[in-house]
Protein backbone atom coordinates (compact mmCIF):
# COMPACT_ATOMS: atom_id res chain seq x y z
CA UNK A 1 0.00 0.00 0.00
CA UNK A 2 0.87 3.57 0.00
CA UNK A 3 3.34 4.55 -2.64
CA UNK A 4 5.14 7.55 -1.14
CA UNK A 5 8.01 9.26 -2.92
CA UNK A 6 10.36 11.90 -1.48
CA UNK A 7 10.73 15.13 -3.40
CA UNK A 8 12.28 18.54 -2.85
CA UNK A 9 9.94 21.40 -2.01
CA UNK A 10 10.77 24.30 -4.33
CA UNK A 11 8.15 26.89 -3.44
CA UNK A 12 5.06 27.26 -1.30
CA UNK A 13 1.83 29.05 -2.21
CA UNK A 14 -1.81 29.38 -1.30
CA UNK A 15 -4.56 28.05 -3.58
CA UNK A 16 -8.11 28.88 -2.47
CA UNK A 17 -7.10 28.73 1.18
CA UNK A 18 -5.13 25.49 0.81
CA UNK A 19 -1.37 25.34 1.20
CA UNK A 20 0.23 23.95 -1.94
CA UNK A 21 3.81 23.61 -3.08
CA UNK A 22 5.86 22.82 -6.13
CA UNK A 23 7.84 19.63 -5.49
CA UNK A 24 10.65 18.27 -7.63
CA UNK A 25 10.98 14.50 -8.20
CA UNK A 26 14.07 13.74 -10.27
CA UNK A 27 13.58 15.77 -13.43
CA UNK A 28 9.95 16.78 -13.01
CA UNK A 29 7.93 19.01 -10.72
CA UNK A 30 4.36 18.62 -9.50
CA UNK A 31 1.92 20.56 -7.38
CA UNK A 32 1.45 18.93 -4.02
CA UNK A 33 -0.98 19.72 -1.19
CA UNK A 34 0.99 20.78 1.91
CA UNK A 35 -1.90 21.01 4.39
CA UNK A 36 -0.42 18.09 6.33
CA UNK A 37 3.15 19.38 6.21
CA UNK A 38 2.42 22.96 7.17
CA UNK A 39 5.91 23.64 8.57
CA UNK A 40 7.71 22.53 5.40
CA UNK A 41 9.68 25.27 3.66
CA UNK A 42 11.50 25.48 0.35
CA UNK A 43 14.53 23.20 0.45
CA UNK A 44 12.85 20.59 2.64
CA UNK A 45 12.14 17.11 1.31
CA UNK A 46 8.62 15.79 1.74
CA UNK A 47 7.17 12.29 1.24
CA UNK A 48 4.28 12.57 -1.23
CA UNK A 49 1.35 10.15 -1.44
CA UNK A 50 -1.56 10.70 -3.89
CA UNK A 51 -0.72 14.38 -4.24
CA UNK A 52 -0.35 15.11 -0.51
CA UNK A 53 2.82 15.62 1.51
CA UNK A 54 2.33 13.19 4.41
CA UNK A 55 5.67 13.71 6.14
CA UNK A 56 8.72 15.93 6.10
CA UNK A 57 12.03 14.10 5.79
CA UNK A 58 14.11 14.56 8.93
CA UNK A 59 17.53 15.29 7.44
CA UNK A 60 19.36 14.61 10.72
CA UNK A 61 17.66 11.24 11.10
CA UNK A 62 18.50 10.39 7.50
CA UNK A 63 22.16 11.26 8.13
CA UNK A 64 22.12 9.20 11.31
CA UNK A 65 20.71 6.20 9.46
CA UNK A 66 23.61 6.44 7.04
CA UNK A 67 25.98 6.18 9.94
CA UNK A 68 24.20 2.98 10.97
CA UNK A 69 24.54 1.62 7.47
CA UNK A 70 28.22 2.42 7.52
CA UNK A 71 28.52 0.44 10.75
CA UNK A 72 27.04 -2.49 8.89
CA UNK A 73 30.28 -2.72 6.99
CA UNK A 74 29.77 -0.85 3.78
CA UNK A 75 32.48 1.34 2.38
CA UNK A 76 31.48 4.52 4.15
CA UNK A 77 31.77 6.67 1.07
CA UNK A 78 28.05 6.94 0.51
CA UNK A 79 26.60 10.34 1.26
CA UNK A 80 23.32 11.94 0.38
CA UNK A 81 25.12 14.35 -1.92
CA UNK A 82 26.31 11.47 -4.04
CA UNK A 83 22.79 10.30 -4.59
CA UNK A 84 22.34 11.88 -7.99
CA UNK A 85 25.17 9.83 -9.44
CA UNK A 86 24.25 6.63 -7.79
CA UNK A 87 22.27 4.51 -10.23
CA UNK A 88 24.80 1.73 -10.35
CA UNK A 89 25.93 0.72 -13.80
CA UNK A 90 26.89 -2.85 -14.31
CA UNK A 91 30.35 -3.66 -15.52
CA UNK A 92 31.13 -5.19 -18.90
CA UNK A 93 29.21 -8.32 -19.78
CA UNK A 94 31.07 -11.60 -19.57
CA UNK A 95 33.48 -12.17 -22.43
CA UNK A 96 33.40 -8.62 -23.67
CA UNK A 97 34.60 -5.11 -23.07
CA UNK A 98 32.12 -2.30 -23.59
CA UNK A 99 33.40 -0.11 -26.37
Amino acid sequence: MCLGIPGELLEVRDVKGLKFGKVRFGGITRDVCLEYAADAVAGDYVVVHVGFAISKIDKDEAARSFAVLEDLGQTGELTADMAEQLLPRSGPWPGEEDP
Binding site: M1, C2, L3, G4, I5, P6, G7, E8, K16, L18, F25, G26, C33, E35, Y36, A37, A38, Y45, V47, H49, V50, G51, F52, I54, S55, I57, D58, K59, E61, A62, R64, S65, F66, V68, L69, L72, G73, Q74, T75, L78, A80, M82, A83, E84, L86, L87, P88
Partner: protein, 377 residues
Protein backbone atom coordinates in the same frame (compact mmCIF):
# COMPACT_ATOMS: atom_id res chain seq x y z
CA UNK B 1 16.90 11.11 -6.73
CA UNK B 2 17.86 12.05 -3.19
CA UNK B 3 16.47 9.79 -0.44
CA UNK B 4 15.76 7.11 -3.04
CA UNK B 5 19.02 6.27 -4.78
CA UNK B 6 21.06 5.94 -1.58
CA UNK B 7 18.58 3.31 -0.45
CA UNK B 8 19.01 1.28 -3.64
CA UNK B 9 22.77 0.83 -3.46
CA UNK B 10 23.85 -2.70 -4.28
CA UNK B 11 26.96 -2.66 -2.08
CA UNK B 12 25.07 -1.61 1.03
CA UNK B 13 22.28 -4.06 0.24
CA UNK B 14 24.60 -7.02 0.02
CA UNK B 15 26.43 -6.06 3.21
CA UNK B 16 23.13 -5.92 5.12
CA UNK B 17 22.05 -9.23 3.60
CA UNK B 18 25.36 -10.68 4.77
CA UNK B 19 24.83 -9.32 8.28
CA UNK B 20 21.35 -10.90 8.36
CA UNK B 21 22.89 -14.24 7.40
CA UNK B 22 25.48 -13.87 10.19
CA UNK B 23 22.82 -12.92 12.73
CA UNK B 24 20.26 -15.62 12.12
CA UNK B 25 20.67 -18.92 13.98
CA UNK B 26 17.32 -20.58 13.34
CA UNK B 27 14.18 -20.21 11.19
CA UNK B 28 11.95 -17.18 11.69
CA UNK B 29 8.68 -16.17 10.05
CA UNK B 30 8.34 -12.46 9.34
CA UNK B 31 5.41 -10.66 7.80
CA UNK B 32 5.75 -7.43 5.87
CA UNK B 33 2.38 -5.83 6.48
CA UNK B 34 2.25 -3.48 3.59
CA UNK B 35 1.65 -4.22 -0.09
CA UNK B 36 4.13 -1.53 -1.09
CA UNK B 37 6.78 -3.39 0.88
CA UNK B 38 5.81 -6.63 -0.83
CA UNK B 39 6.11 -4.84 -4.15
CA UNK B 40 9.67 -3.69 -3.36
CA UNK B 41 10.69 -7.10 -2.01
CA UNK B 42 9.66 -8.76 -5.25
CA UNK B 43 10.69 -5.89 -7.52
CA UNK B 44 14.27 -5.93 -6.21
CA UNK B 45 14.56 -9.64 -5.55
CA UNK B 46 15.13 -9.14 -1.81
CA UNK B 47 13.48 -12.47 -1.02
CA UNK B 48 16.32 -14.13 -2.93
CA UNK B 49 19.06 -12.23 -1.13
CA UNK B 50 18.23 -13.13 2.46
CA UNK B 51 19.10 -16.44 4.12
CA UNK B 52 16.54 -19.25 3.76
CA UNK B 53 15.98 -19.26 7.53
CA UNK B 54 14.07 -15.99 7.19
CA UNK B 55 10.65 -16.65 5.68
CA UNK B 56 8.73 -13.59 4.49
CA UNK B 57 4.95 -13.90 4.53
CA UNK B 58 3.22 -11.25 2.45
CA UNK B 59 0.67 -9.47 4.60
CA UNK B 60 -2.81 -8.14 3.84
CA UNK B 61 -1.64 -4.58 3.26
CA UNK B 62 -2.75 -3.96 -0.30
CA UNK B 63 -5.89 -1.83 -0.07
CA UNK B 64 -6.80 -2.64 -3.65
CA UNK B 65 -6.67 -6.37 -3.03
CA UNK B 66 -8.55 -6.41 0.26
CA UNK B 67 -11.40 -4.20 -0.96
CA UNK B 68 -14.42 -6.44 -0.56
CA UNK B 69 -16.39 -7.85 -3.46
CA UNK B 70 -19.38 -6.02 -2.06
CA UNK B 71 -17.73 -2.60 -2.35
CA UNK B 72 -16.64 -3.29 -5.91
CA UNK B 73 -20.20 -4.33 -6.74
CA UNK B 74 -21.42 -1.05 -5.24
CA UNK B 75 -18.86 0.82 -7.35
CA UNK B 76 -20.15 -1.03 -10.39
CA UNK B 77 -23.75 -0.13 -9.59
CA UNK B 78 -22.91 3.56 -9.16
CA UNK B 79 -20.63 3.82 -12.19
CA UNK B 80 -23.37 2.23 -14.34
CA UNK B 81 -25.79 5.07 -13.61
CA UNK B 82 -26.28 7.52 -16.46
CA UNK B 83 -24.67 10.90 -15.83
CA UNK B 84 -22.14 9.60 -13.31
CA UNK B 85 -18.43 10.29 -13.69
CA UNK B 86 -16.76 7.57 -11.65
CA UNK B 87 -13.19 8.36 -10.63
CA UNK B 88 -10.64 6.08 -9.05
CA UNK B 89 -6.98 5.42 -8.48
CA UNK B 90 -5.67 3.45 -11.46
CA UNK B 91 -4.94 0.17 -9.78
CA UNK B 92 -8.51 -0.25 -8.52
CA UNK B 93 -9.99 -0.36 -12.01
CA UNK B 94 -8.83 -3.85 -12.83
CA UNK B 95 -10.01 -5.60 -9.70
CA UNK B 96 -13.01 -7.79 -10.51
CA UNK B 97 -16.21 -7.74 -8.52
CA UNK B 98 -18.96 -10.29 -9.07
CA UNK B 99 -20.07 -8.40 -12.19
CA UNK B 100 -16.65 -7.70 -13.65
CA UNK B 101 -14.19 -4.85 -13.22
CA UNK B 102 -14.52 -1.12 -13.80
CA UNK B 103 -12.41 -1.14 -16.96
CA UNK B 104 -14.89 -3.50 -18.56
CA UNK B 105 -17.69 -1.23 -17.47
CA UNK B 106 -15.85 1.65 -19.15
CA UNK B 107 -15.70 -0.35 -22.37
CA UNK B 108 -19.50 -0.55 -22.23
CA UNK B 109 -19.78 3.21 -22.12
CA UNK B 110 -19.54 4.16 -18.45
CA UNK B 111 -17.58 7.33 -17.75
CA UNK B 112 -14.77 5.91 -15.60
CA UNK B 113 -11.67 8.04 -15.13
CA UNK B 114 -8.28 7.55 -13.49
CA UNK B 115 -7.15 10.29 -11.13
CA UNK B 116 -3.90 10.62 -9.27
CA UNK B 117 -5.28 12.49 -6.28
CA UNK B 118 -8.77 12.65 -4.73
CA UNK B 119 -8.59 16.45 -5.05
CA UNK B 120 -8.52 15.94 -8.83
CA UNK B 121 -11.92 14.28 -8.51
CA UNK B 122 -13.28 17.31 -6.63
CA UNK B 123 -11.94 19.51 -9.42
CA UNK B 124 -13.68 17.38 -12.04
CA UNK B 125 -16.89 17.79 -10.02
CA UNK B 126 -16.66 21.56 -9.92
CA UNK B 127 -15.94 21.63 -13.66
CA UNK B 128 -18.96 19.39 -14.39
CA UNK B 129 -21.74 20.77 -12.18
CA UNK B 130 -24.44 18.94 -14.14
CA UNK B 131 -22.87 15.53 -13.53
CA UNK B 132 -22.56 13.39 -10.42
CA UNK B 133 -18.86 12.81 -9.72
CA UNK B 134 -17.98 9.90 -7.44
CA UNK B 135 -14.53 8.99 -6.15
CA UNK B 136 -13.72 5.45 -5.02
CA UNK B 137 -12.01 6.23 -1.71
CA UNK B 138 -9.91 3.20 -0.92
CA UNK B 139 -6.74 2.91 1.08
CA UNK B 140 -5.15 2.43 4.46
CA UNK B 141 -4.44 5.14 7.02
CA UNK B 142 -1.89 6.71 4.66
CA UNK B 143 -4.53 7.63 2.08
CA UNK B 144 -7.25 8.60 4.55
CA UNK B 145 -6.06 12.21 5.04
CA UNK B 146 -6.15 12.80 1.28
CA UNK B 147 -9.60 11.27 0.94
CA UNK B 148 -10.87 13.12 4.00
CA UNK B 149 -9.57 16.40 2.58
CA UNK B 150 -11.49 15.81 -0.66
CA UNK B 151 -14.78 15.36 1.24
CA UNK B 152 -13.99 18.28 3.55
CA UNK B 153 -13.20 20.63 0.67
CA UNK B 154 -16.22 19.52 -1.34
CA UNK B 155 -18.47 20.47 1.58
CA UNK B 156 -16.62 23.69 2.30
CA UNK B 157 -16.66 24.82 -1.33
CA UNK B 158 -20.22 23.65 -1.86
CA UNK B 159 -19.36 21.10 -4.54
CA UNK B 160 -22.67 19.31 -4.04
CA UNK B 161 -22.25 16.92 -6.96
CA UNK B 162 -19.16 15.27 -5.43
CA UNK B 163 -19.42 12.15 -3.33
CA UNK B 164 -17.12 9.39 -2.17
CA UNK B 165 -17.60 5.64 -2.05
CA UNK B 166 -15.47 4.97 1.00
CA UNK B 167 -13.78 1.64 1.62
CA UNK B 168 -11.02 2.44 4.06
CA UNK B 169 -9.21 -0.22 6.05
CA UNK B 170 -7.01 0.01 9.13
CA UNK B 171 -3.81 -1.90 9.80
CA UNK B 172 -3.68 -2.62 13.57
CA UNK B 173 -7.01 -4.54 13.72
CA UNK B 174 -5.81 -6.72 10.83
CA UNK B 175 -2.50 -7.39 12.60
CA UNK B 176 -4.37 -8.30 15.77
CA UNK B 177 -6.63 -10.63 13.78
CA UNK B 178 -3.54 -12.37 12.35
CA UNK B 179 -1.91 -12.69 15.76
CA UNK B 180 -5.08 -14.03 17.39
CA UNK B 181 -5.70 -16.65 14.74
CA UNK B 182 -5.21 -20.24 15.88
CA UNK B 183 -1.97 -21.63 14.50
CA UNK B 184 -0.51 -18.20 13.72
CA UNK B 185 3.05 -18.57 12.39
CA UNK B 186 4.08 -14.92 12.20
CA UNK B 187 6.81 -14.13 14.75
CA UNK B 188 7.77 -10.61 13.76
CA UNK B 189 6.43 -7.73 11.66
CA UNK B 190 7.88 -5.15 9.33
CA UNK B 191 5.51 -2.33 10.24
CA UNK B 192 3.93 -0.11 7.57
CA UNK B 193 6.13 2.99 7.24
CA UNK B 194 3.75 5.34 5.50
CA UNK B 195 0.76 4.34 7.61
CA UNK B 196 2.86 5.25 10.65
CA UNK B 197 3.93 8.54 9.05
CA UNK B 198 0.28 9.50 9.61
CA UNK B 199 -0.66 7.47 12.69
CA UNK B 200 2.63 7.33 14.60
CA UNK B 201 3.41 4.02 16.29
CA UNK B 202 1.90 4.13 19.75
CA UNK B 203 -0.84 1.67 18.68
CA UNK B 204 1.89 -0.72 17.60
CA UNK B 205 3.59 -0.55 20.99
CA UNK B 206 0.51 -2.02 22.63
CA UNK B 207 0.35 -4.74 19.93
CA UNK B 208 4.02 -5.62 20.50
CA UNK B 209 3.47 -5.79 24.23
CA UNK B 210 0.19 -7.69 24.21
CA UNK B 211 1.30 -10.33 21.69
CA UNK B 212 5.02 -10.39 22.58
CA UNK B 213 5.93 -9.73 18.96
CA UNK B 214 8.69 -7.49 17.57
CA UNK B 215 7.48 -4.80 15.17
CA UNK B 216 9.96 -2.73 13.18
CA UNK B 217 8.42 0.27 11.40
CA UNK B 218 10.06 -0.02 7.98
CA UNK B 219 10.41 2.06 4.83
CA UNK B 220 9.93 0.98 1.24
CA UNK B 221 13.30 1.10 -0.50
CA UNK B 222 15.33 -2.10 -0.70
CA UNK B 223 17.85 -1.01 1.92
CA UNK B 224 15.04 0.06 4.25
CA UNK B 225 13.52 -3.38 3.93
CA UNK B 226 16.79 -5.22 4.42
CA UNK B 227 17.56 -3.11 7.48
CA UNK B 228 14.03 -3.70 8.81
CA UNK B 229 14.48 -7.44 8.36
CA UNK B 230 17.83 -7.28 10.16
CA UNK B 231 16.38 -5.30 13.07
CA UNK B 232 13.46 -7.74 13.42
CA UNK B 233 15.75 -10.76 13.29
CA UNK B 234 18.03 -9.21 15.92
CA UNK B 235 15.05 -8.76 18.25
CA UNK B 236 13.91 -12.33 17.68
CA UNK B 237 17.39 -13.74 18.22
CA UNK B 238 17.77 -11.85 21.49
CA UNK B 239 14.24 -12.50 22.75
CA UNK B 240 13.07 -8.90 22.58
CA UNK B 241 9.61 -7.81 21.40
CA UNK B 242 9.38 -4.06 21.09
CA UNK B 243 8.59 -1.45 18.46
CA UNK B 244 11.64 -0.06 16.69
CA UNK B 245 11.64 2.58 13.98
CA UNK B 246 13.82 1.83 10.97
CA UNK B 247 12.10 4.60 8.96
CA UNK B 248 12.93 7.45 11.35
CA UNK B 249 13.63 9.87 8.51
CA UNK B 250 9.89 9.94 7.74
CA UNK B 251 8.12 8.54 10.83
CA UNK B 252 7.88 9.86 14.37
CA UNK B 253 6.21 8.25 17.38
CA UNK B 254 3.33 10.70 17.15
CA UNK B 255 2.92 10.65 13.39
CA UNK B 256 1.06 13.52 11.75
CA UNK B 257 -1.51 15.03 14.14
CA UNK B 258 -2.83 17.56 11.61
CA UNK B 259 -3.65 14.77 9.18
CA UNK B 260 -5.30 12.64 11.87
CA UNK B 261 -7.41 15.54 13.04
CA UNK B 262 -8.95 16.09 9.62
CA UNK B 263 -9.50 12.34 9.15
CA UNK B 264 -11.47 12.21 12.41
CA UNK B 265 -13.39 15.35 11.45
CA UNK B 266 -14.74 13.61 8.36
CA UNK B 267 -14.53 9.86 9.08
CA UNK B 268 -15.27 7.58 12.04
CA UNK B 269 -14.11 4.07 12.80
CA UNK B 270 -16.46 1.21 11.88
CA UNK B 271 -16.53 -2.47 10.96
CA UNK B 272 -15.19 -3.39 7.54
CA UNK B 273 -15.24 -6.49 5.32
CA UNK B 274 -11.90 -7.62 3.86
CA UNK B 275 -11.89 -9.61 0.65
CA UNK B 276 -11.33 -13.28 1.33
CA UNK B 277 -10.88 -12.60 5.05
CA UNK B 278 -14.35 -11.50 6.13
CA UNK B 279 -15.51 -8.79 8.49
CA UNK B 280 -13.04 -7.42 11.05
CA UNK B 281 -14.54 -5.27 13.83
CA UNK B 282 -13.52 -1.61 13.89
CA UNK B 283 -11.12 -2.15 10.99
CA UNK B 284 -12.18 0.67 8.69
CA UNK B 285 -13.47 4.20 8.31
CA UNK B 286 -16.96 5.39 7.47
CA UNK B 287 -18.07 8.89 6.48
CA UNK B 288 -19.54 10.80 9.44
CA UNK B 289 -23.24 11.68 9.50
CA UNK B 290 -22.46 15.39 9.13
CA UNK B 291 -20.86 14.67 5.74
CA UNK B 292 -23.53 12.21 4.55
CA UNK B 293 -24.44 14.28 1.50
CA UNK B 294 -20.98 13.36 0.16
CA UNK B 295 -21.36 9.68 1.03
CA UNK B 296 -21.96 7.85 -2.23
CA UNK B 297 -23.43 4.81 -0.51
CA UNK B 298 -26.24 6.95 0.87
CA UNK B 299 -26.54 9.21 -2.14
CA UNK B 300 -27.01 6.34 -4.59
CA UNK B 301 -28.86 4.03 -2.18
CA UNK B 302 -26.49 1.14 -2.69
CA UNK B 303 -26.29 0.24 1.00
CA UNK B 304 -28.54 -2.74 0.47
CA UNK B 305 -26.14 -4.37 -2.01
CA UNK B 306 -24.70 -7.31 -0.10
CA UNK B 307 -22.38 -9.75 -1.80
CA UNK B 308 -21.20 -12.85 -0.03
CA UNK B 309 -17.58 -13.79 -0.52
CA UNK B 310 -17.02 -17.34 -1.75
CA UNK B 311 -17.05 -19.82 1.11
CA UNK B 312 -14.42 -21.85 -0.75
CA UNK B 313 -11.77 -19.14 -0.55
CA UNK B 314 -9.02 -19.74 2.00
CA UNK B 315 -7.06 -16.56 1.26
CA UNK B 316 -7.44 -15.48 4.89
CA UNK B 317 -5.41 -18.51 5.91
CA UNK B 318 -2.99 -18.10 3.02
CA UNK B 319 -2.41 -14.47 4.01
CA UNK B 320 -1.53 -15.68 7.48
CA UNK B 321 0.88 -18.23 6.08
CA UNK B 322 -1.21 -21.15 7.40
CA UNK B 323 -2.05 -22.73 4.07
CA UNK B 324 -0.61 -22.93 0.58
CA UNK B 325 -2.52 -22.03 -2.59
CA UNK B 326 -2.49 -25.67 -3.67
CA UNK B 327 -4.43 -26.58 -0.51
CA UNK B 328 -7.44 -24.74 -1.92
CA UNK B 329 -10.16 -26.68 -3.75
CA UNK B 330 -10.98 -23.66 -5.94
CA UNK B 331 -7.38 -22.92 -6.95
CA UNK B 332 -6.88 -22.79 -10.70
CA UNK B 333 -10.45 -23.87 -11.41
CA UNK B 334 -13.06 -21.59 -9.85
CA UNK B 335 -10.38 -19.10 -8.86
CA UNK B 336 -7.93 -17.70 -11.42
CA UNK B 337 -6.26 -14.30 -11.91
CA UNK B 338 -9.13 -13.48 -14.29
CA UNK B 339 -11.83 -14.50 -11.83
CA UNK B 340 -10.23 -14.24 -8.42
CA UNK B 341 -12.12 -15.16 -5.28
CA UNK B 342 -9.72 -13.66 -2.76
CA UNK B 343 -7.04 -11.03 -2.26
CA UNK B 344 -4.17 -13.45 -2.79
CA UNK B 345 -5.34 -14.11 -6.36
CA UNK B 346 -6.23 -10.48 -7.10
CA UNK B 347 -2.72 -9.10 -6.70
CA UNK B 348 0.04 -10.32 -9.02
CA UNK B 349 2.22 -10.40 -5.91
CA UNK B 350 -0.35 -12.42 -4.02
CA UNK B 351 0.66 -15.97 -3.19
CA UNK B 352 -2.11 -17.54 -5.29
CA UNK B 353 -1.53 -15.44 -8.42
CA UNK B 354 2.22 -16.00 -8.28
CA UNK B 355 1.70 -19.70 -7.77
CA UNK B 356 -0.78 -19.86 -10.62
CA UNK B 357 1.57 -18.18 -13.11
CA UNK B 358 4.88 -19.62 -11.96
CA UNK B 359 4.06 -22.74 -9.99
CA UNK B 360 6.69 -24.86 -11.65
CA UNK B 361 9.41 -22.40 -10.64
CA UNK B 362 8.19 -21.95 -7.11
CA UNK B 363 8.45 -25.73 -6.81
CA UNK B 364 11.91 -25.93 -8.30
CA UNK B 365 13.06 -22.79 -6.48
CA UNK B 366 15.37 -22.26 -9.44
CA UNK B 367 14.07 -18.84 -10.31
CA UNK B 368 13.34 -15.55 -8.60
CA UNK B 369 9.90 -14.33 -7.72
CA UNK B 370 7.49 -12.76 -10.13
CA UNK B 371 8.01 -9.17 -11.08
CA UNK B 372 5.83 -6.76 -9.22
CA UNK B 373 2.81 -5.54 -11.12
CA UNK B 374 -0.31 -3.73 -10.25
CA UNK B 375 -3.13 -6.11 -9.38
CA UNK B 376 -4.17 -8.12 -12.35
CA UNK B 377 -7.51 -9.17 -13.59
Amino acid sequence: MKYLDEYRDGGVASSIAKTIAETVTRPWVLMEVCGGQTHSIVRYGIDRMIPPEVELVHGPGCPVCVTSLEMIDKAHAIASRPGVIFTSFGDMLRVPGSRGDLLTLKSRGADVRVVYSPLDAVRIASQNPAREVVFFGIGFETTAPANAMAVYRARKEGVGNFSMLLSHVLVPPAMAAILQAPGNRVQGFLGPGHVCAIMGYREYESLAERYRVPIVITGFEPIDLLEGILMTVRQLETGRAVVENQYARAVTRDGNPAARALVLEVFEVGDRKWRGVGSIPKSGYKIRYEYRMHDAEKRFHVEEIATEESSLCISGQILRGLKKPSDCSAFGTLCTPQKPLGATMVSAEGACAAYYQYGRFLDSASLPAVTAQAPTA
